[in-house]
């Protein structure tokens, strides 16, 4: 029972981590919360679903399509809602509001395009494997494999590659990065599109695991991603990864060992307790909130 629930929790948590990474990357580099991230996540889920159901492509191609759509949405978001507000004497809340605008727009477009009803993925992933007392479905293995490999690749990319280092430098101090020769505008576009691509892939994974894709799915998942962003320490990559896993495990355990209707209450209650003890989040440092 315990191990089974742990696997379930890790599966759910790894999708939270992916969503939170999107928030974290943008928070780290731009110091803003992208309120449209949940809706980009939802669009990714729909694109993946439509590719699988209508074009009958395999799930990897569908995820690639979702990632590409997410990246393009991210580039548009940056152009329309973020760039015009940068380096102008506007309130630092302005990008928050403008991304809320984009999120409302995207949700309305999704309602118009896809309709309000919930849709599901064709059930070709229902196979399951028994490992002693555990029963792990193919979907779970797939989700775990995809999200953990994406997180590992992202970590490696940030730590070792030239562009990854430029992104970290930009996140720490945009002016210094610019003085060292980094075209920081390009890094910002890259960051927003990468974050959105990760969010879209997470959308497909969540769609697969809950077997439900609907235009409002971005709101709840967006809020959970935000909670993880704060739990992990604003802008901290490791924090987002671990924070997502912790939230997922907490939710699953509160259902398994408690009452399913208190699932979110337990999970968010735990976040509040952790933040009482560490107000800066798990991996945030007091003087370096927001990656600065």
């Amino acid at each position: 029972m315990f191990w089974q629930q742990l696997v379930n929790g890790l599966t759910l948590g790894s999708t939270y981590s992916l969503i939170a990474l999107g928030y974290t990357l943008i928070m780290g580099v731009l110091n803003i919360v992208n309120m449209a991230h949940g809706e980009i996540f939802m669009f990714g889920a729909f694109v993946g679903l439509l590719l699988v159901t209508h074009l009958k492509v395999n799930i990897f191609v569908a995820m690639l399509g979702a990632a590409l759509t997410g990246a393009i949405l991210g580039i548009i978001l940056e152009r329309v809602a973020l760039r015009p507000l940068r380096r102008k004497a506007v309130s630092h809340l302005a990008p928050l509001i403008s991304t809320i605008g984009v999120s409302i727009f995207l949700e309305s477009v999704a309602l118009k395009l896809f309709g309000p009803q919930s849709r599901d993925f064709p059930s070709s992933f229902t196979a399951a494997f028994e490992f002693g007392p555990m029963r792990i479905s193919l979907v779970q293995i797939f989700i775990l494999a995809v999200s953990f490999s994406l997180m590992l690749v992202l970590r490696f990319w940030l730590a070792k590659t030239k562009i990854g280092k430029a992104l970290r430098a930009t996140a720490e101090n945009i002016e210094t990065a610019n003085l060292l020769g980094v075209n920081t505008n390009k890094i910002i576009v890259l960051t927003v599109s990468l974050a959105s691509a990760l969010g879209s892939v997470a959308g497909v994974l969540v769609g697969l695991s809950f077997n439900a894709v609907e235009p409002t799915m971005g709101i709840t998942m967006g809020l959970k991603g935000l909670a993880v962003l704060i739990l992990g320490g604003m802008g901290n990559i490791t924090g987002a990864m671990l924070g997502g896993l912790i939230l997922g495990i907490a939710e699953v355990f509160s259902v398994a060992y408690g009452n399913s209707s208190y699932r979110d209450a337990v999970a968010f209650g735990m976040i509040i307790v952790i933040l009482f003890i560490r107000p800066q989040g798990l991996f945030g440092s007091r003087d370096q909130q927001g990656g600065k």
């Binding site: 030239k162 280092k165 430029a166 970290r168 430098a169 720490e172 101090n173 002016e175 210094t176 990065a177 610019n178 003085l179 060292l180 020769g181 980094v182 075209n183 920081t184 370096q288």
Partner: protein, 238 residues
């Protein structure tokens, strides 16, 4: 190599630079001296692209560069070591140095890294530690080393002695002189006028946004007004 003509830069309605003219001949060390708030850092920010000048021209190697973005100016061969050093504290010392060579595509980066480590052995000893763990003097060494990794033709130094112990200041100035002798042209902004005039060939005195006096370092050091205001009375000689 660098020529500034009638440069005006302001923050809104306040003009920090009220039309300055300045020339940096190739191979020289030119020092821009002045008190706090005279506009020295504003001049450096205008040159490196962090601030857009309102009017005037900055001509580098015959090309007008005023208003270009910082990364474009780096690609022309101008590197700034900013006031306060701006070390990337969450990245390792090695990564800081690698970032200095961000735009370079020639094969000499490893050799230049070697020469930075030879000049500042402490950076090599601590290359895998985070930049934020260094002391002030070591951070200044890292900032200069990082700028040298870009292989600049013109090195801009903004207050390299700020907040450092006198011993360390002497070391830093020695290094600046060496870098110049190895071929880089240097524009040095300093409040430590005595030290700056020791290594500079030419000097400009900036007061509330205007150049009030300029000449060779010896001439400037001998100027009674400079002696009075910056060198602690007329009895002292440099």
């Amino acid at each position: 190599m660098l020529k500034i003509e009638g440069l005006v830069t302001g923050y809104g309605s306040i003009k920090a630079l009220k039309g300055i003219d300045l020339e940096v001949p190739a191979g020289s060390i030119v020092s821009l001296i002045g008190a706090n708030g005279a506009g020295k850092t504003t001049a450096m920010k205008s040159l490196s692209g962090l601030l857009k000048p309102e009017s005037g021209r900055i001509i580098y190697k015959g090309k007008q560069i005023q208003g270009l973005a910082p990364h474009k100016i780096v690609s022309l061969g101008i590197s700034l070591v900013p006031e306060g050093r701006n070390i990337l504290s969450q990245m390792t010392i090695l990564e800081n140095l690698e970032m200095g060579a961000y735009q370079r595509k020639d094969g000499q980066v490893a050799a230049d890294l070697r020469s930075v480590f030879n000049r500042f052995p402490v950076l090599e000893e601590r290359k895998n530690q985070l930049g934020g763990t260094l002391s002030g003097g070591q951070q200044q060494m890292l900032a200069i080393g990082r700028a040298m990794m870009a292989k600049p033709d013109l090195l801009l130094l903004d207050e390299p002695s700020m907040g450092l112990a006198p011993m360390v200041v002497a070391d830093i100035f020695k290094v600046i002189k060496e870098i110049n002798q190895e071929g880089a042209t240097v524009l040095l902004v300093e409040q430590n006028v005595r030290q700056a005039l020791k290594i500079a060939h030419y000097a400009y005195v900036l007061e509330t946004g205007k150049i009030v006096y300029n000449g060779t370092a010896e001439e400037v050091a001998a100027n009674p007004r400079v002696k009075e205001a910056y060198l602690g009375g007329s009895k002292t000689t440099v």
